[in-house]
Amino acid sequence: MHQELREHIIKLLNTGIRLDGRKLTEYRKPIEVEQGVVKTAEGSARVKIGETDVMVGVKLEELGPPGIQAIELARVVDRGIRESKALDFRKLCITPKEKIWMVIIDICPINDAGNLFDASSLAALAALKNAAYPKFDGEKVDYKEKTSKKLDLEKTPIAVTVIKIGDKFIVDPDIEEEKAVDARLTVSSIEDGTLCAMQKGGDYPLTTEDIDKMLDIGIEKAKELRKHL
């Protein structure tokens, strides 16, 4: 479908340049992380990577024994954050076997100019870091009053999506590059380089060597992105 575009992109990549003049493993600039943008949320953040613009809000709800809906919702929460154990779920317990806090992260893209994966993951983490518990008197949650108690984040899992086009690997694809993707690997890693989640996408397979290289890029670039938090 985008054969001509794809060929053009590959020709350029072979010279080490991308459509917009970036290097292969260079993120768009500026990367902006703004926390606490939405007063009605317990935590919020807005992340811009180039023209890509994502808003994330965290709501905290008090919940009785988890029902099927809560279980389902919990599974939808970003795997990177969950699997890295960035949030200690034991600390979300209000009274054992009775009441817990449910943390819900909602991601609302404002402008999709490519690489929503990484922008959303960064925004989700920034919003979590920004989140404070609302007041709870044992019966009702008072959302009008935030306490000074923050959600503890013990780790900062960062997702980096590495894209394969032809035999080249790039990060932070724009819209045109996303149309030409052969394969994609989203790699979430924490401070010490431990991987905590992955997702392969795209229509084409990857070799072991590909994955080796993509993981290296993913872990390296995560360190760079983490500085923006």
Binding site: K39, A41, M55, D106, Y143
Partner: protein, 236 residues
């Protein structure tokens, strides 16, 4: 206790602080932001573009589709469940009716103009903020328009007529409250949205509409200014 002074200290005919900006979503054909107090609306316009499925097409004129959506974290209380509610569907409908009179859709047969209104943060007056943002976004999209649309809520708190009710006034407990969102086409003064809940006498309503028109002229100036900030006049 009679309502002698507004809870947040505003004059009775004074709106909350307003901010407006045009062209904030580069991927949309037209976009705008309208913030009034703690209520914050984005609007994105896509189109005119081909309408699918085809049986929805009108060979005489294009159609306008509006979608009003509160982001899940936008309410000061519990999280808003995503997906449309009866409330958001109705607001989407009346928003479309409020905007339609300024458009000339006969220019675009078989097409659709989509308007998406998203609210990251709300505290009363969200449909009016959405309409203000949407009309600027339609202009930004380059659609031919007869006028802009400006909207604000007017109302009565206890025995006082007020403009732009905030949450505390909407939920005023010590007296009756009427909440009346109004949208007008500022140049003709014609009204394109009028809703109300609460209690009010007819002569009070008529006075209130006059009060709202004055506030709406100020809002219109803010909308025009935001548009002109994006589209500078070129000296030849």
């Amino acid at each position: 206790m009679p309502y002698t002074k507004r809870i947040d200290g505003r004059k009775f005919d004074e709106t909350r602080k307003i901010e407006a900006k045009v062209g904030i979503i580069p991927r949309a054909d037209g976009s705008a932001m309208f913030k009034i107090g703690n209520t914050w609306a984005y609007a994105a316009v896509y189109g005119p573009r081909n309408l699918h499925p085809k049986f929805l097409q009108d060979p005489q004129r294009g159609i306008l589709r509006c979608n009003y959506n509160m982001m899940p974290f936008s309410s000061s209380g519990e999280r808003v469940r995503p997906g449309g509610s009866r409330r958001s569907k109705e607001i989407s409908l009346v928003t479309g009716k409020a905007l339609l009179p300024v458009l000339d859709l006969e220019e675009y047969p078989n097409s659709v103009v989509d308007v998406f209104i998203e609210l990251p943060q709300t505290e009363a007056g969200s449909r009016c903020a959405g309409i203000c943002a949407a009309s600027m976004a339609l202009a930004d999209a380059g659609l031919e328009m007869k006028d802009l649309v400006s909207a604000v809520s007017a109302g009565k708190v206890d025995d006082k007529l007020v403009i732009d009710l905030d949450y505390a006034e909407e939920s005023y407990k010590d007296g009756s409250v009427a909440d009346i969102p109004i949208a007008i086409m500022p140049n003709s003064g014609k009204i394109t949205l009028l809703q109300m809940d609460g209690e009010i006498k007819k002569d009070e309503l008529m006075r209130l509409i006059d009060m709202a028109k004055k506030a709406l002229n100020d809002i219109y100036e803010i909308q025009k200014k935001a548009l002109k900030e994006k589209y500078h006049e070129v000296e030849m």
